[in-house]
Amino acid sequence: MRSPHTSLPSTEPRPPGELDTLRRIWASPRGLAFVTDINNNVVGIAYVAAGLLFFVLAGVLALVMRTQLAVPQNELIGPSLYNQLFTMHGTVMMFLFAVPVVEAMGILLLPNMLGARDLPFPRLSAYAFWAYFIGGLVFFGSIFVDLAPRGGWFMYPPLTTEQYSPGFNEDFWLLGIGFIEISAIAGAIEIIVGVLRTRAPGMTLDRIPVFAWAMLVFAVMIVFAFPAIIVATVLLELERAFGWPFFSADRGGDPLLWQHLFWFFGHPEVYIIFLPAAGMVSMIVPAMAQKPLVGHRLVVLALIGTGFLSFGLWVHHMFTTGIPRLSLAFFSAASMAVSIPSGIQVFSWIATFAAGRVQWKTPTLFIIGALAVFVIGGLTGVMVAVVPFDWQVHDTYFVVAHFHYVLIGGMVLPLLAALYYWMPYVSRRPLSERLGRWVFGLVFAGVNIAFFPMHITGLAGMPRRVYTYPGGLGWDLLNLVSTAGAYLVAAGVLLLLVDIARNFRFATEENAGNVWNSGTLEWLPNGNYSNRSIPVVKSRYPLWDDPTLAEDVEAGRYYLPGAPTGGRETIVTSPVEARPQWLLQMPFPGWAHFIAAVFTAAFFLLLTVKLVAPALVCGAIATAAVVAWLWSLDPGPSHPPVDVGGGLRLPVYMTGPSSQSWWAMIVLVLVSASTFASAAFSYLFLWTVSPEAWAEARSMPPAAYAVIAAAALLASSACVAYAARALHDNARTAACVMLALAVTLMIAGFSAELAGHLGVGVSAVRSAYGAAVWLVVSLFGFFAVIVILMASFTIARGIAGKLDRERRATFDNTALFWHYTVAQTLAGLLLVHGFPRLIA
């Protein structure tokens, strides 16, 4: 043991009761108040459990389908239920299992892995979880009342338009997953700001654990990919509910618009799922091989490169839609290019195993199995990236085999490895090694028995999404074997649940500990408060490079060994070099996030069944809960700078670009920009396919309306800028008056735009032109409402005395979003008013 600890930040002996205070501050509520908890350990475990629940439920749906397909001409279930089953299986697996469960792993692991007490917006994580869990359960329940969607997880129109799919079923998909999109974006904001701003001192970009890098790339991808599906679902719902013809060819719409928007989300979605799982593998492999990851930097590059390139692949799901071959070739080439970073990761894992002394435990088995399965899926992926081959196998079981190999090898098996690997981190006991080997054997064998024959079934011509098939076509035995394989997988999953029931006992302080001799920070002794003290990181595997680190951290010899402000707090560090900058005071458990989540889910689900008035009431309650939640934030400089150890005194409040909320707003701006880009793309795409619909633009509003709207918007921005100056001079009343004036100008601007289009009678239902125009105008209105609410909230804080030159984080966020909204809306005005004049 190192004798004197004088080189470490905090001196000994530590004050008596310091650890008890930390435990008390971070203690979880008991009983029913469990729902008010926001600690990442509790929310993370609940989140993972919910994800696994949906995995099991979607798996049961798959078993029913496989039972139906076991023999030809089976009468077990009819076509309508079968359609619901495959739609729900895909939707639940993708939206309720795959994305949430990797987000959940991030929420559970990242704080400890990064050396933070918690992620910067713990209430946001808790909100995301409850909205997803409650909404997800109700959504899943739709299958029991024959209301589940039937259009496939990709919901292609025109099949899913009101004309061909009347009733609420498809609406459940369109609105029902709205809350999941919100939940995913909320989680992404949390993860981006968490990884960039709450790392332990010294954890530079080069020392960030690969899983954290993967989660960062994952979250950034959500920011850019999810808005496309949000816009797509809004467009389809607008067409179904109000007849706006975005996808109806007879009025200038085009079903291909849906496919572009859907797959702009849908292909990155595959990597959104794969990259975190790859990040988990890159953490597990070094631990099981007892060797640092070979090619660490290359793996990080591969994660970033894959994230970017995956946005250039969407059309490879549309090779049979009649797009010119040259255009298809761009996507085919990008599909080839993306195999390079994927290959880098696979070779890195193999090389690390080859270089180390492998512990042949259950996580290792799952990783080896994942490698084999994923490589097969990757190879068939390169095959279907070849356009002529894809034309042959499109919509056959070959594609079903391909994507199951990719998703199971790329995500499910790594997740099972992660469950076995990280279980000792959250449980008193690890999972059983003996049962784990059985689970692996059953799942691995079952997956290959179920899905490998499907390659042949597909090549033999069996189409996807058929509820039964005639005998004697060479498909009978193959289908029977696939069904047997599916039951083997189910047996493996059942055994996993038995293992979890027998051995999982939730614990933080008394967990089983570092049973794998891993080298990263999450294996430090921890509690609800994460680590007793926050270490200084000097390498990628700090526990391997400093054998006394765990003892020093546990003895409180590093930073922040106590709670100097008397509340929950964590150190905010600079995003590149991870230098300590300030101390973030964090919230305590409360009801606001839970109420907001329940009523957000209720809002969307009631809207689905057209109960508009109750939905609006729920929306109002959710908004009120969010306002109550936000009201308690922005405490101002209520505490003088505090010593966090080693004489390092940190401020406890920050505004502007250094604050965590500013970073969250920047991410929200990116989400908004991506949303607007998708809407603008929709407008321009419809023009390219239906220029005749733009003939209607001859009767567009006079330019004066757009000029008045633009002038009002610019003036409103000037008012907000003036309010910022006034606040800087501590003229609070003047600031509030200017904000109120900005609100008035925003309303005036929107009114001018509205009056212009109403005046000339632009109809949203007559043609795609009108629908596209009203889409952009609606976006203007939506953002106007948001910034008006934000400004009103800020004014209310001013009136309540919670706003001044120091305490101004709320104002700064409002101003930032206001200016962005004005810029976006000006671009929208240019599109709607300028573009038709340009092409005329």
């Binding site: 970009l205 080069d206 040259l326 590149v576 230098r579």
Partner: protein, 114 residues
């Protein structure tokens, strides 16, 4: 070692510059090809179509040229992060170059708009 923090925006832009060049190139060639093919039935549409190979070829050359400085720049290992930003930038630019070349040569074999 410098005690000044590297601005995050500068670091992020530097790391992702190569891939952003790829994204711009991709958007340009796909966007132009899509637009030209969609509007080929207009009076002057055929001229747009005839220009497709030129647009792809020239934009690919420009993109490749833009990537070269990032690839050529060696990491500065004396930095606190051990040259992570520079080497990441160079690596991603190299990957972007491969993608640009893959996509840029397609016009040599395939006719536009068919």
């Amino acid at each position: 070692m410098s005690t000044r923090d590297t601005p995050f925006a500068a670091a992020a832009l530097r790391i992702s510059a190569g891939i952003m060049v790829w994204a711009l190139h991709f958007a340009a060639i796909y966007g132009y090809t899509g637009l030209a093919c969609a509007r080929r039935f207009l009076d002057d549409g055929q001229a747009w179509v005839a220009a497709i190979p030129w647009v792809i070829g020239i934009s690919s050359l420009i993109a490749a040229a833009a990537l070269m400085p990032f690839i050529a720049r060696l990491p500065r290992t004396h930095r606190a992060d051990g040259g992570f930003i520079e080497s990441s930038s160079a690596g991603l630019a190299a990957l972007a170059l491969v993608a640009v070349i893959f996509e840029g040569v397609t016009f040599l074999w395939l006719p536009p708009c068919e």
